[in-house]
């Protein structure tokens, strides 16, 4: 058994462990639910957990693998959430089989977010570093604000759009407003379940992990490590950057669909789709380790569950996150700290100990 395990190539073994963690976590949760050992609060957290995990893994694709900071990830989630919810509301009475409708909604959410990711990525990915971060932030806010001001209605003549109010849609008597500006979409069927969420997490992992270990993934990582060198060996930089960015956006769209179908109504507020959400996901990615997919999953789960368990510190939780974020960055990246860590690492200490013993 062990020999056979050793024959599997290392990246694949690592990936299998990651999948294993997700599956085991799912089974443990199911057992806890069936034994009635999970509080109402925790059961309510299960689907959001899946949403955050998908968000963190997909953002890690941009930040860790592509090496560019995107601050507009919540914008793509918003697009997916509204595209999926819009489809569900329109088709509510047409497709009554809810699972099939939900699967279609997920595909549409991913498609819309992915197409926008491509369209936004085309101009945006010419920038690097700080500029890219601020431009993605701008696009995220634009998406949120436009959806917040968007009115869409449906009557027998078709769809009506407006950016002013529901009256200016000019609909017939039979018409109904589907997206109602700042009130968003109301009366959603709650199709999201923990099982579907977990399956989506596994699909996300499958896509991202396979991409990382593929030829395309290595090309993307080479761009991260040295743009000019990878250009000079003939890697199509724009194409690979766009590929990573679009996949990341589409996966955020999937998370959005899962999110919007877990609520009775969905609105584009700053709290759920604004800059703050993008930052929270970024905190998950940074704490889990930039570029480390398994770390993102664990960080997303721990940082979502911990504040709910420790209710007493929920006020201070964002303060604590921010301190952890700063400390982690300095601890992991500061040249002086790195030098100090090398000198005082356990390995170094042990080898010194060994040397001393050898002398004696």
């Amino acid at each position: 058994m062990r020999e056979r395990l050793a024959q599997i190539p290392k990246p694949m073994r690592e990936n299998l462990i990651t999948f294993g963690i997700v599956v085991v976590a799912f089974i443990v949760m199911q057992i806890l639910i069936s034994l009635n050992m999970l509080s109402h609060l925790m059961t309510g957290l299960l689907v959001p957990l899946c949403v955050y995990v998908i968000m963190a893994v997909s953002l890690n694709l941009t930040v860790g693998i592509l090496g560019e900071l995107s601050l507009g990830h919540a914008g793509f989630m918003c697009l997916g959430a509204f595209a999926g919810a819009f489809f569900t509301k329109v088709m509510e009475n047409v497709i009554t089989f809810s699972l099939f409708r939900f699967i279609l909604a997920i595909l549409i959410g991913a498609l819309v977010a992915g197409v926008f990711g491509l369209l936004i990525g085309l101009p945006v990915l010419r920038f690097r570093g700080d500029y890219l971060a601020i431009v993605t932030l701008a696009f995220g806010e634009i998406i949120k604000n436009i959806i917040n001001a968007l009115f869409v209605g449906l009557d027998d003549k078709g769809f009506h759009f407006s950016l002013r109010d529901s009256l200016s849609l000019g609909m017939g008597e039979e018409g109904r407003v589907i997206i109602n500006g700042a009130q968003g979409i109301v009366g959603m069927p709650r199709d999201s379940t923990f099982l579907i969420g977990t399956i989506l997490v596994i699909i996300t992992l499958f896509i991202v992990l396979n991409l990382i270990n593929s030829r395309d993934g290595r090309a993307i990582m080479s761009i991260r490590d040295n743009l000019i060198a990878s250009e000079s060996v003939g890697i199509d930089v724009t194409r690979y950057k766009l590929m990573a960015f679009t996949i990341s956006a589409a996966l955020a769209g999937v998370a959005g669909v899962l999110y919007s179908h877990n609520l009775n109504s969905v609105q584009a507020t700053p709290r759920n789709f604004g800059f703050n959400m993008s930052i929270m996901i970024l905190v998950f990615v940074v704490l889990g380790g930039i570029g480390n997919i398994r770390g993102s999953i664990i960080a997303a789960v721990v940082l979502t569950v911990l504040p709910e368990v420790l209710r007493g510190i929920s006020d201070q939780r964002m303060l604590i996150y921010s301190v952890i974020l700063i400390v982690m960055m300095i601890f992991n990246w500061s040249p002086k700290v790195l030098e100090w860590r090398e000198k005082h690492s356990l390995k170094e200490w042990l080898s010194r100990l060994r040397k001393r013993k050898a002398k004696v």
Binding site: F127, I134, F139, E141, N145, A149, L163, M318, L325, I326
Partner: protein
């Protein structure tokens, strides 16, 4: 007449953006980093005056001085604790993420101390509005003070940079950090000075902003901070006249957009400006073109 009062409002908001943008543009020019926490230093400055005037009953002018001092100390401390250890780090993203962390830290600290609710801010400008053309155009006193402050700050900063030794040192560090060090310029000290000036200006901008739009909350600084950064990019990052022009234009665009296009979409218009500027002229109106060296 409506148009003229919108224009004046726009220029007033733009002057505040310009003062904030100075902090961004100087720090970006010299330390080559986007100080995301700059917007939240504005908030700290405004809250200090709020605490002094509304909660302790201090003299407004004294509170302003206190606010400037606290912001300077805060800015220098942030630079020393969070940014300096990361100078020379392998990836540029690292400093940006740390700056976001600092921004979040300040917001949540204010949230814990003052609570999340929006509070009304008492304007510290002591005199009333000016009426022109038989009261057809009313210019608020805050607007006048903002214009005056912006003008004084721009002039004195330009003089400081071109006529004094520390100012010349800033230019040298912005040009080439290593060469400046070789010439005997204290690079770390110069960067600290830049943060001190930027943060002091942020305090003034925060008080002006909260006097003109008399509300304050822990999130007061975030959006104006981002918009001021857009103004800095618009005018050409690293350029002081650029910050002024970018700030004024952005303020006018925002107010006119809000008045004539849509109230809800005014932020969208401002962000669109950023994207269009970056696509058409990435160096901004007055910025210099930088060649990336291999």
């Amino acid at each position: 007449m409506n148009f003229i009062s919108f224009l004046i409002n726009g220029l007033s908001l733009g002057s505040i953006y310009a003062i904030i943008a100075l902090g961004y543009t100087m720090v970006y020019g010299i330390a080559k980093m986007l100080n995301f926490a700059h917007g939240d230093v504005i908030m700290v400055g405004a809250f200090t005056v709020f605490w002094g005037v509304s909660m302790q009953g201090f003299d407004p002018f004294l509170s302003l001085l206190l606010s400037i001092t606290i912001c300077i100390i805060l800015g220098v401390t942030i630079e020393f604790i969070a940014y300096r250890p990361l100078r020379g780090a392998a990836s540029k993203l690292v400093v940006l993420i740390t700056a976001i962390g600092v921004s979040y830290f300040l917001q949540n600290l204010a949230l814990l101390i003052f609570g999340a609710s929006t509070k009304s801010f008492t304007s510290i400008v002591p005199f009333g509005p000016v009426r022109l053309f038989d009261g057809q155009i009313i210019i608020s006193s805050e607007t006048l003070v903002t214009f005056a402050a912006c003008l004084i700050i721009m002039t004195s900063l330009t003089l400081f940079i071109h006529k004094t030794k520390p100012g010349q040192a800033m230019l040298a560090v912005a040009e080439d950090k290593d060469a400046a060090q070789l010439m005997g310029i204290n690079v770390n000290g110069t960067i600290t000075l830049t943060f001190a000036i930027g943060s002091g200006l942020a305090a003034i901008a925060g008080v002006l902003l909260c006097s003109a739009y008399p509300v304050i909350s822990p999130y007061t600084g975030a959006m104006p901070g981002i918009k001021a950064f857009i103004a800095a990019v618009f005018g050409g990052i690293g350029s002081i006249p650029g910050a002024l022009i970018g700030g004024l234009l952005l303020g006018v665009i925002e107010i006119l957009g809000r008045a004539y296009i849509s109230t809800q979409l005014s932020d969208v218009i401002v962000f669109m400006v950023l994207i269009i500027v970056l696509l058409v002229k990435p160096t901004g109106l007055l910025g210099r073109k930088l060649q990336e060296k291999v």
